[in-house]
């Protein structure tokens, strides 16, 4: 019941008072709170449990490839396995069938083809439809893809083809971009494709316009093989040509459009900007030795949600165009791009290629072809192996890749499968096929692994 002592005069008494104050009780009164706070300080904040659990890779279990309906003279579908594995693959379209695969198998089918391989064959199944100056890769159904530079006018028209390889219905939503912004096309909204069916949309019918368009095809239900056939009909001059327009997986800020062919011709670069702001695009040319901007080339401005067509015919003509194997685009915002070439009455497309990281492969159409590699971001090595239809190796080479430089390699005509491995760098590659005519096949990363997502019970 004693009170706090009054201040007492004198040093000695103060000292005595201090010692009296600092008895064991007082010591405890000081130590216990300090210990308490110290113990509490050991409690660390909760570290947030990681919400991102990356998937694991396993050998691909099953692959489905969809090849589009044949164009005139392109009834052949070449099927192969990148690893040379043999076995049976099944076709689901146009009819249920089994194809024995040993080396490269060429089958003739006019209708759209869906091939399915499982287990060993799944990770390396390749397919290409080709013939008569046209070619396209058979690809696995993708949920999202872009087709830039499609037309809907008599002189330049395109046809969208969607194929459903499965039993259940699939739904595609097609967004159409034009020079003045998105175009509302009711016919392409929520396109339902019944199981096992192929639907074709002539854009000249569903969205007649002279403008250069871009399509984004989003598959919201099921799986769809999506292809676009592009056709040029120079009405007066009688030149009429068609070819498949390769797709681009997503818009990007840096793009290599490889495969201009050797001949001069009409060249139109079509850009699409799916973003909300204006994109500015710098166009450079890619030659074996270097990448450089042409003196006359101006920066291209692409309005948001719009397309922009640039005629590069003059720029790439004559000396300036000699040795050019592709274009390089540097954009301030992600864009998609296609360079359409009409050379000697033959239509071809160079589309922004997907960056390759390790390995790609292609079932080669017959005839002369060239491998184009560019866009190395580091000094690296590309190794290619070409085998013939029997699986025997007919060519192989190791190519040094250097940033700013490109490679153009002639492939043997009897080659059936190209297997390209990239090391220590990223790169973009395409294969030019022809003559006769020219077809460009952009190469994309070979999917050998299936991604198995991390699966766990939910927290709530």
């Amino acid at each position: 019941m004693s009170e706090t002592p009054e201040p007492t005069p004198g040093r000695r008494s103060a000292a005595r008072s201090l010692s009296r104050r600092l008895g064991p009780i007082e010591l405890v009164a000081i130590v216990v709170p300090l210990l308490t706070v110290a113990a509490l300080a050991l409690v660390r904040p909760v570290d947030d449990a990681t919400t991102v659990h990356p998937p694991t890779d396993v050998a691909l279990e099953r692959t489905t490839l969809v090849c589009p309906t044949a164009l005139a003279g392109a009834k052949t579908v070449s099927l192969a396995d990148a690893d040379g594995a043999s076995g049976d693959v099944t076709t689901r379209l146009p009819d249920e069938d089994t194809i024995a695969l040993d080396g490269t198998k060429r089958v003739g089918k006019s209708a759209a083809v869906a091939v399915q391989a499982t287990e060993d064959l799944a990770s390396g199944l390749l397919g290409t439809r080709y013939g008569d100056g046209v070619a396209t890769s058979c690809r696995a159904p993708q949920p999202d893809q872009w087709f830039t530079g499609v037309g809907a006018a008599p002189e330049h028209s395109s046809t969208l083809e969607v194929t459903n390889p499965d039993g259940g219905p699939a739904v595609a939503d097609v967004t159409v971009l034009g020079p003045d912004g998105p175009v509302d096309v009711p016919a392409l909204r929520g396109v339902t494709v019944p199981g096992g069916r192929t639907l074709r949309f002539d854009l000249a019918e569903v969205v007649p316009t002279r403008d250069e368009l871009a399509l984004q095809v989003h598959v919201s239900r099921g799986r769809l093989g999506v292809d676009v056939v592009d056709q040029v009909d120079e009405l007066g001059r009688g030149a009429r040509s068609e070819d498949w327009l390769p797709s681009q997986a997503e818009a990007g800020t840096a793009a290599y459009l490889l495969g201009l062919g050797g001949k001069p011709g009409d060249r139109t670069l079509v850009l699409a900007n799916p973003g909300d702001s204006e994109a500015r695009v710098q166009v450079k040319v890619v030659t074996k030795e270097s990448e450089f901007a042409l003196a006359d080339a101006e920066e291209v401005r692409v309005s948001p949600g719009s397309t922009e067509a640039v005629d590069l015919t003059d720029l790439l003509e004559g000396r300036a165009g000699r040795g050019v194997i592709g274009l390089r685009l540097d954009a301030t915002l992600p864009v998609t791009a296609t360079l359409r070439t009409l050379a000697g009455g033959d239509l071809s497309h160079a589309v922004a290629g997907a960056p390759l990281a390790s390995r790609t492969a292609l079932a080669l159409p017959g005839g002369p072809s060239r491998l184009l590699i560019a866009g190395a971001d580091n000094a690296g090595v590309a190794t290619y192996v070409v085998t013939d239809a029997q699986g025997d190796q007919v060519a192989d080479e190791r190519v040094e890749l250097t940033p700013g430089e490109a490679a153009r390699i002639k492939l043997p005509s009897k080659g059936a499968v190209l297997d390209l491995t990239i090391q220590r760098t990223g790169a973009v590659a395409s294969v030019e096929v022809g003559p006769p005519g020219l077809a460009v096949l952009p190469l994309s990363e070979l999917v050998v692994d299936g991604r198995v997502p991390d699966v766990r019970p939910a927290l709530r």
Binding site: E3, A29, L40, L42, R44, V46, V219, R451, P453
Partner: protein
């Protein structure tokens, strides 16, 4: 008029001399005497023979009943005159006396005078007063209630101040001192042999009334009655040791044989159920013997219907025309009034006893040492306060008491601030409630739950109190959560108020100012709100915060000087700790730790005290009873490998985000009150160490805080690996404990500061200024907290959860456990998680099960296959696991969706939202693995728990016996 005194004696030598003297001293002497001695083993017979002459004393054996004895005595009298009563010869009276009933000298005179005044009266009884106290009233006439209760109409222990001195007609009078017309006695066949000892007076009176006879009580006649048999002072072969059995048996028999034919079926049922209820009542107050007697009595009567029927036949013959019995029975509402009184007594006793610890310790201390009382403040005002709180019916006194008004205002504001809890709430840690109380009961009873892929993890322990409360609230599960969230804070504040008062008394003989208690109660009461537990829907922490002060209050009972009360404290603590641990198991673990520390310290400081089993026994027993009370949860929790659940708290994950600052300032996360309010309290708790007078108790508080801090620090390092996530043990409990301890420390330490404010002149100005500053700072804590809570709208609670699956799937899933919905979220890149929705979704009480349930490897693999490479075999696996639909809520991963679209056995299903994808499993649905089951072990555990709760409830219940006997 002749009056014959008829005395029945049995082992009554203690009273007989006085009784015989009393008879002899009558101012109106008796005309004749006759006595029956039923085999006394003492000097009774000799005493009576000496007084009344051997020829008037008849000895019978010890098994003679009272009715038989009376009949035998009557037989020895000369035959009654057979002439017509109207001739005036019907004037022969019998005055029944017991050997423990001593008549006042005027008793017989008053009775005989009454005969002249009320010539219609056939039975007259005196006023019975207690012997030997002579002052208290025992009976002034009798009646019987609908439940067979012997109703005297008197308060317990009422003093005779002439308040009942009006002669009146009654149903019956006691046989002790009864003056009855001999002819009537004989006509009615005397007393019923079925009622050997007790209750024959009421039966006789009832029969007399039914026969049209009049019974009157004449209060001017006084007889002092020792009630030797009733009180068990005298044991006879007839009463045995179970007087209660005999009394109840007699009451039931009386009710059944005398009830009217119409009322009989109702009475049969009512008395039976009523008796069972009384059995429970006796058990509640730990009167096991009486409970068994009660049970035996009802069984004894009901197993012999022939005796009842015979009795009814006998009575039927004698029934007169002008029966007044009905009007003389006790009113119908009376038993309910008694029941209400009983419950009130119980509640008062229950709320009073904890707070008495300090008083009793003080009393014990005073009795030991008897030092002069150092009175700072008069006890009277405190008592007044207490009385006021307990007896708040007195509106005027309540309204003029500022403390009561402030507390009332706080309660009102707290309910207003908690207004979102009116109606259903969910969000944060709080899941939606199930539709019905039955769902909680089922959850509690099941050993295997149809949740997810079926799991044996037990339901959390709080499901039982929730289910019970929901049942009481008419099956409304939402009302349980609403009442918890609305009332937890006032309830916690009330507990804190009570605790602070007792702690204040224990620590210091001087009483702390009551405003300090108000401050402490309000500050602590607000902890669930200011900590953010309320806003985060952490109902476990909220409930524990409300229970903690009551638990501490109960635990203070371990310091009671009385052995019995220490044991009672053990069971009360066990109940409260178990209830708290049902929400936050850490309560029990921390209680174990504190008990170990306290007992360890006691062993060190005062080893001799601990040698007494009744000192260390209660806390140990109380804490060991907790696992038994929680057995159906605890045991399976451990055996299913879900022991991490012991370190979690009620509610769904993720757990709290307490860090160092949160522990210091009492905040669970970001949804609490401003942190600086918490800092103020922490500073006050530190400053409480400064005043020397209260330093030791404040240090004790800090030691508790240190223990909590160390445990929190250790738990902070632990990581619990649950199937779905890795989490830290729940630390919300420690936030509450630290806040509570800080409040207690502050209240204890504030006394010295407050003195500086009160008698200002005695202290330097700066000290007064500091004290005033601290007082303002302290006031800011609860005011700021309450104000913040009132205006704060930022909480995690909503009315309804956002629907994840389309409505038609919800309906379909109600059809049965096999109609499950597999909900898969996430993407291939970031990982996916899944949950199975069955029945009415995942409701309150199921989160804890699911978060602890082991992953079903096969099902996990099936889901992995489903999202990577689905095949029709996977679809069959889903069907076998009782999955009807697969849902990918928006935004659905296109790759996964495409895979499912391509899978045979999965049919695309519609969803309201286009970006949500759904499939129906087109395969037969099975429920084999997920069906609800209840194992025999579970039943055993439930029975053990039920019995344990009953026993502990009974043991914890306050004592009423003493009060009843007084």
């Amino acid at each position: 008029m002749t009056v014959t005194a008829l005395l029945v004696s049995h082992d009554g030598e203690r009273w007989l001399p006085a009784v015989l003297a009393g008879v002899a001293a009558q101012n109106r002497p008796v005309d004749a005497v006759v006595a029956v001695d039923t085999g006394s083993r003492d000097e009774s017979r000799t005493l009576v023979e000496a007084a009344w002459g051997a020829e008037n004393v008849h000895a019978l054996d010890g098994s003679t009943t009272f009715p038989q004895a009376v009949r035998a005595a009557l037989a020895t009298l000369p035959p009654t005159s057979t002439e017509a009563p109207e001739a005036g010869l019907d004037d022969e009276w019998i005055w029944l006396l017991h050997d423990d009933a001593n008549p006042d000298p005027d008793a017989l005179l008053a009775l005989t005078l009454a005969i002249e005044e009320y010539p219609d009266a056939d039975v007259l009884g005196p006023k019975l007063r207690e012997w030997p106290s002579l002052r208290r009233l025992l009976e002034v006439g009798l009646t019987i209630t609908g439940t067979g209760h012997r109703e005297t109409g008197l308060e317990r222990g009422e003093y005779d101040q002439g308040q009942h001195d009006e002669p009146r007609q009654v149903l019956a009078v006691n046989t002790a001192g009864m003056l009855v017309r001999r002819r009537v006695l004989e006509e009615l066949g005397g007393f019923d042999d079925e009622l050997p000892m007790f209750g024959n007076d009421i039966d006789f009176g009832w029969r007399a009334a039914q026969a049209g006879r009049t019974t009157m009580v004449i209060p001017q006649a006084v007889v002092f009655h020792a009630e030797a048999a009733h009180r068990g002072v005298r044991r006879t072969p007839l009463t045995g040791r179970h007087t209660h059995f005999q009394e109840r048996r007699a009451a039931l028999f009386t009710m059944l044989v005398n009830a009217s034919g119409r009322a009989l079926p109702w009475q049969v049922v009512r008395l039976f159920l009523g008796s069972l209820l009384r059995v429970l009542g006796f058990l509640v107050v730990r009167s096991v013997g009486e409970a068994l007697d009660e049970l035996a009595a009802v069984l004894s009567v009901y197993s012999r219907p022939r005796a009842v029927l015979a009795g009814r036949r006998a009575r039927a013959g004698r029934r007169g025309e002008a029966s007044s019995a009905r009007s003389l029975l006790a009113p119908a509402w009376l038993p309910y009034r008694h029941g209400l009184d009983f419950l009130t007594d119980l509640a008062t006793a229950a709320t009073n006893q904890a707070s008495d610890v300090a008083e009793r310790r003080r009393a014990a201390k005073l009795a030991d040492a008897a030092p002069p009382p150092t009175s700072g403040r008069s006890r009277a005002s405190v008592d007044e306060e207490e009385e006021l709180l307990q007896d708040s019916g007195i509106v005027a006194r309540f309204a003029t008491n500022p403390v009561a008004m402030v507390l009332l205002l706080f309660v009102v504001l707290a309910v207003v601030a908690a207004r979102p809890a009116f109606g259903t709430i969910t969000g944060g840690a709080l899941s939606q409630v199930p539709a019905d109380a039955a769902d909680w009961w089922r959850l509690h009873v099941e050993s295997r739950h149809p949740l997810g892929t079926g799991t044996d993890v037990p339901a959390p322990a709080y499901v039982l109190p929730f289910a019970a409360l929901a049942t009481i609230l008419g099956g409304s599960t939402g009302a349980v959560i609403s009442s918890l969230m609305l009332l937890a804070i006032p309830f916690g504040a009330w507990g804190a108020w009570r605790l602070l008062r007792v702690v204040g008394h224990l620590v210091d003989t001087r009483d702390l100012p009551r405003w300090l208690h108000v401050w402490g109660a309000v500050t602590y009461g607000l902890v669930p709100a200011t900590s953010g537990a309320w806003g985060e829907g952490r109902f476990g922490t909220v409930a524990v915060a409300a229970l903690l002060p009551w638990t501490a209050l109960a635990a203070l009972g371990f310091a009671d000087p009385e052995r019995d009360r220490r044991w009672r404290a053990a069971w009360r603590t066990a109940l409260l700790v178990a209830l708290g641990a049902a929400f936050v198991p850490g309560v029990w673990l921390f209680a174990l730790l504190v008990a170990a520390i306290v007992l360890g310290a006691a062993a060190f400081v005062a080893p001799r005290v601990l040698r007494d089993r009744d000192v260390w026994g209660p806390p140990v027993a109380g804490l060991l009873a907790v696992p038994v009370l929680l057995a159906p949860w605890l045991l399976p929790l451990v055996t299913t490998g879900s022991a991490p659940g012991l370190l979690l708290e009620a509610g769904r994950l993720p757990g709290d985000r307490v860090d160092f600052l949160g522990l210091v300032t009492g905040r669970l996360g970001d949804l609490g009150a401003p942190w600086w309010l918490g800092v103020l309290l922490a500073v006050l708790a530190v400053l409480a160490l400064v005043p020397r007078s209260t330093r030791v108790p404040v240090i004790v508080c800090w030691l508790v805080a240190l223990a909590a801090a160390i445990v929190a620090a250790v738990l902070g390092l632990v990581r619990l690996s649950l199937p779905a996530t890795e989490t830290r043990p729940s630390l919300g409990l420690f936030v509450v404990i630290l806040q509570g301890v800080a409040v207690i420390a502050t209240v204890l330490g504030a006394e010295a500061y407050l003195r500086r404010l009160h008698d200002g002149a005695a202290h330097p100005l700066w000290q007064r200024a500091v004290a005033a500053l601290l007082a303002v700072g302290a006031a800011v804590v609860p005011l700021g907290g309450l104000g913040w809570w009132l205006v704060n709208q930022d909480d995690a609670l909503t009315r309804t959860e956002q629907a994840v699956v389309p409505a038609y799937m919800e309906q379909s899933s109600q059809l049965g456990v096999e109609h499950g919905v597999l909900v898969i979220r996430g993407s291939v890149d970031d990982g996916v998680d899944y949950r199975v929705r069955r029945g009415d979704g995942i409701t309150l009480g199921e989160d804890e099960i699911l978060s602890l349930a082991d992953v079903d490897r096969d099902f996990d693999a099936a889901v992995r296959a489903l999202v990577s490479a689905p095949t029709s075999a996977v679809a069959k696996t889903l069907g076998d696991a009782g999955i009807e639909y697969v849902v990918l809520p928006s935004p659905a991963d296109g790759t996964v969706a495409a895979g499912l679209d391509a899978t045979a056995g999965l049919v695309q299903a519609s969803a309201e939202d286009r970006s949500t994808r759904a499939w129906k499993v087109d395969r037969p649905l099975e429920a084999a693995g997920v069906e609800s089951r209840t194992s025999a072990l579970r039943v055993v555990l439930l029975v053990v728990q039920g019995l344990a709760i009953l026993v502990v409830l009974v043991l914890a219940a306050p004592t009423l016996r003493k009060a009843r006997d007084e």
